[in-house]
Symmetry: C2
Subunit: 162 residues, 2 copies
DNA sequence: AAAATATGTCAGTCATGTTGACATATAATA
DNA sequence: TATTATATGTCAACATGACTGACATATTTT
């Protein structure tokens, strides 16, 4: 593909849109589906996976910050988080500066679960990126970053990657 | 990023995995959420959007092919497809070679809906890809392609892009 | 002392996926 | 031709993970 494709030709805009949308849909679906079997053993769903993934990415995150990160309601988070807390996959620590806050961390048990659930995904992603090469991987990240709403970037990427 | 990152260093594997997973999650979420407001006006959801998108990508697709493409059950598709048929966003034509088959196409009304729903997404994707550049966009497609299960590629990418 | 904030919970709803069972029309095969 | 297989559609029940709205408690800020 040459740079002429980005010269305001609507046909190429259409191709970029259709091809990207299709690939993004299938890739996301096939990537996200992997951990399901492992999760089923624990009687957990994808929502539990997301929570332990992001708590691991942001140790000591508060409930409100996690809500902003995931962009879901308190009531929706409550169900999965309560279970993860009850079953000791996540620990809560009362904030020292602000005792209203509950700071979340994975327990050893939670880390083990995340490791098990991540195994296949990690293989799949590392394989895809290494086969595609480092230039392609940088491009992959670049386009994905630009797809994220600026408004959400504040709550998200700042916490881990710039 | 240099090629040394793909030399079997587990720390870099970990980075590739975590960064890619996080970016893919946020990008997909922020990309897919866009059409919701438009869809709400029609009283449709994301499932309806997917159906009209893929019927448009594969004109004359049969129900069984659409099921294989979307990887969902007949019963799940039935609800949304019935509505789209009832309200004349999609037309059914009995197959000529095999009269059991129902070949699906968008009606003019369906094309109008898809256009309205696509408007924001198209802007968002074209903006992201053109800002990232053609090399990055190629890399984006390359990694996404490699994330798709080989088994699914038969049902999917073959139909539109190789 | 009053207002705002962080968290948690109860109750109900919705969208979209799943299984399992069964019916009908048509095509392919023995 | 009779039987079997395929393509489609539909009924019922259920699971997951979102949502809204209301309300309670503890703590911090004003």
């Amino acid at each position: 593909m040459t740079d002429i494709f980005f010269d305001n030709h609507n046909l190429n805009d259409e191709k970029v849109f259709l091809k990207s949308t299709e690939l993004l849909y299938f890739a996301y679906r096939d990537y996200i589906a992997w951990p399901d079997e492992v999760l089923k053993k624990y009687n957990f769903g994808r929502a539990h996976h997301r929570v332990i993934f992001f708590v691991n990415q942001n140790p000591g995150i508060s409930v409100a910050e996690l809500l902003a990160l995931l962009n879901i309601t308190k009531q929706s988070l409550s169900r999965v988080l309560s279970t993860l807390l009850d079953k000791r996959f996540i620990s809560q620590k009362i904030g020292t500066r602000d005792r209203r806050k509950r700071l979340l961390n994975l327990t050893a048990k939670g880390e083990k679960l995340l490791f098990d659930v991540s195994e296949c995904q990690k293989l799949q992603m590392v394989k895809a990126c290494s086969e595609a090469g480092s230039v392609a991987t940088e491009g992959f990240w670049k386009v994905l970053s630009k797809l994220i709403n600026e408004k959400n970037k504040k709550d998200t990427i700042n916490l881990t990657y710039k």
